[in-house]
Symmetry: C2
Subunit: 233 residues, 2 copies
């Protein structure tokens, strides 16, 4: 039974607090340096170096040298999805474990409002967008499958996106991604990625330094309301 030991290896890789923090930090798709990841994990660079070597050997992370820096990123979207899946499990487990509401800090508040999830939008904003689009039958999302309706293609086209023209590779066009803070699905897949990119380009949202949280700009407030009938915040 060669496979089961492999399962334990993957688990052990993620089952360390330091490495888990690093992976979570990489979840938005950016590439970070070893030092940055060391800070995220709360360990010294030499410890982080060891962790990153293991993550790389386990093919969860890939490195890219650039001068004297080494940028680390998740090896694939599949890895990101696996980690998101595990975080959902963790959230469910928490919910069952302690019935009392989870204490949240101000930093969590921003994350809960709107954040990136690898390459698409999550948090209340992401869920609201998915809800609004489903409401108008632009997309249909089931617990873990999704599609874009003809009306949806039309809509996205006027929004400036051509879902069929985009390079897809092996990626799925449209799929739900369960939100660990909202516990409801938001929009992922090629469409989810395109929408987020477009929102950045339009200046509707911008990244908050040092976190995966994003802020909605004034023009975003107006745009989300006008185009998606969504009132962020």
């Amino acid at each position: 039974m060669v496979h089961t030991t492999a399962l334990a290896e993957i688990g052990a890789l993620i089952g360390d607090a330091g490495r888990a923090n690093m992976l979570a930090a990489l979840l938005d798709g950016r590439a970070l340096t070893a030092k940055e990841l060391a800070d995220h994990a709360g360990v010294t660079p030499q410890t982080a170096s060891g962790h990153l070597a293991k993550l790389t050997a386990g093919h969860l992370v890939v490195v890219e040298k650039q001068g004297r820096h080494r940028f680390h990123r998740l090896a694939s979207a599949e890895v990101a999805r696996m980690i998101e899946t595990m975080m959902q499990m963790a959230a469910h487990g928490d919910a069952a474990r302690n019935a009392k509401p989870i204490r949240v800090g101000p930093r969590d508040q921003a994350l809960r409002a709107a954040r990136t999830c690898y390459d698409h939008l999550a948090g209340r904003l992401g869920v609201a967008l998915a809800d609004a689009m489903a409401q108008r039958d632009l997309i249909r999302l089931d617990a873990d499958g999704g599609l874009v309706t003809p009306e949806g293609r039309q809509f996205l086209s006027t929004f400036g996106l051509d879902v069929d023209a985009a390079p897809r590779g092996k990626r799925v066009l449209c799929r739900p991604c369960l939100d660990w803070s909202e516990r409801r699905p938001h929009l992922a897949g090629v469409v989810g990625a395109q929408i987020m990119q477009r929102c950045f380009n339009l200046g509707w949202i911008r990244r908050l330094e040092g976190t995966r949280a994003v802020a909605v700009t004034p023009s975003g407030q107006e745009g989300f309301r006008r185009v998606f009938d969504v009132r962020p915040g």
Copy 2:
């Protein structure tokens, strides 16, 4: 940051060879006793007891007492999916790690041919069924989303299944589940579960003692060919 530590906890839970073996053994949805799981993990009962206590505390496993036995099963289909996802990662990692083909034993051969995956069929048989149904446009599967076409409902109806009448709860009707041996999707969700159940009822397949592998009976050979145009084996 309460969530990231939770991620590490889940990982650590799976990151022990003994516990990983237990979880893999439970992957077909059956409930097993502590002793059986101890054998699977290759440890003594008292060690297994400790592991199972942790898995239960982590809400990956639930127990059910029945006389002097305690039956353990995966806590939910979500847990099963998470573990399958991780095994896929492990398989991909393996593939990249050593280019040489993986050595397989005779036991693996049976598993690769046809096996249960929690509550649906996997292995070459599962993939072949999914392929055949997609070919005739009875279902449509994308990398991680799926649906049953009207023709599919008709087809399943003549096969003795009413997908809409079945109790669904929050489960998705139809979704792909990437096969770790074939590296191609097979059919999961309510439809996948119904089809497997029907095949058992028709006597087309039967469980092989002590494994998740299933054997195709002679009538199954005939049935799969006639109904699905699939030639197992």
